[in-house]
Symmetry: C2
DNA sequence: CTATCATGTTAGTTCCTACTAACATAAGTT
DNA sequence: AACTTATGTTAGTAGGAACTAACATGATAG
């Protein structure tokens, strides 16, 4: 049933555990156990815990094509923002583990910061462009950069909310929340 | 210059380090050094690292009076939401360290979950009430609970944004972003 | 002055963790 | 059959971290 090769099994186990507990709190023995291999095999393949961490990071770090998010737009605020937001949520969600892993190991690997913060930065710049264009078209009047940042913040909020959803006693599901937020946002900036 | 008593010095150092690195990654020696005391003194006062962690949590956990946020409302959407949002941001900001500390030690202390998740839950319930009342007054039409959740998500997003602000290459400051978000939200749900 | 108290210092114990060496095994290849 | 390759097992080392015991010191209170 499990046809993964050894390295993948280890990398998968590593990313799961690192994202749950952070680098220091996870032991190589634990990773090996979850991966279903012996600890020795882990070291044979990855030499050190640090190296395993980096390999796991490299393997799972996302390289989304942000530009693709901004193709096929209809220049209808709510529709466009809905599409953009859903795609961004999807990217964040797919990379949940690596984001959490990074967050729990902050000062451990400052060199990874750049890799991860490239994305909100890039996303923001494309949003800038979108809102700028929308203002040129007369759909909105506010400062495009402020709008871009507000929309980014909203997106991060939705992501965090979906992460902690199970800890909260809410009835509304996240999808409803996402469309609600986008709808409100689109309506709120129109005119 | 530093008139803090020993226990406070240690607790302060502990919360800072735990929030930066998480429980496991911090050593008692490190805490003692930052506190400016000997490691022995730390153990004399707190007996164990675990106990120190719990004492730090207890000392710094916030007990905001959420009801106070909802007093003196003017039943003007933008004004009220601005006030509510600012206060909530303030609470989150003041308790940044303990939130981060908790986040980085997730499965280490599930018993603390309840303590921390009480707040978004409570905040959400009061928002429910506010939007319900606003609907009764005819100011809004949407489902109050969905609105409450959307507004909570927006608030969390603003908080996260302010946390990672220094890692992002944005020009807009967080205050502008907050008022922009609230303004958009208020306008977006009116009618 | 003396007793007390909080703190520092030093040395040490115990345990855990990253990591290694050496040998065993089992499957596949030639 | 002999060899290779990937893995497991067992035992072990080295270092670090939590935590302790015993003694030293310096300030304060009576």
């Amino acid at each position: 049933m499990c046809t993964l090769n050894t390295e993948d099994k280890i990398l998968n186990a590593a990313i799961v555990l690192f994202s749950q507990k952070g680098f220091t709190a996870v032991t190589t023995k634990e990773i090996a156990k979850v991966a279903g291999v012996s600890e020795m095999t882990l070291f044979r393949h990855f030499e050190s815990k640090q190296n395993l961490f980096e390999k796991a990071f490299d393997k799972f770090v996302f390289s989304p094509k942000f530009l693709a998010l901004f193709e096929g737009l209809e220049w209808d605020l709510e529709r466009d923002l809905n599409k953009i937001c859903s795609s961004y949520q999807d990217i964040l969600c797919k990379n949940q583990k690596i984001i959490l892993m990074h967050f729990k190991n902050e000062e451990l690997n400052p060199n990874f910061d750049a890799a991860l913060f490239r994305f909100p930065n890039e996303f923001k710049r494309l949003l800038d462009y979108y809102f700028e264009e929308m203002r040129n078209r007369g759909a909105i009047r506010e400062n495009p950069e402020t709008l871009a940042m507000s929309f980014l913040a909203t997106n991060l909020g939705l992501f965090i909310t979906s992460l902690v959803m199970n800890k909260l006693t809410f009835e509304t599901d996240i999808q409803t929340c996402i469309s609600s937020c986008v709808k409100i946002f689109a309506k709120g900036i129109t005119g």
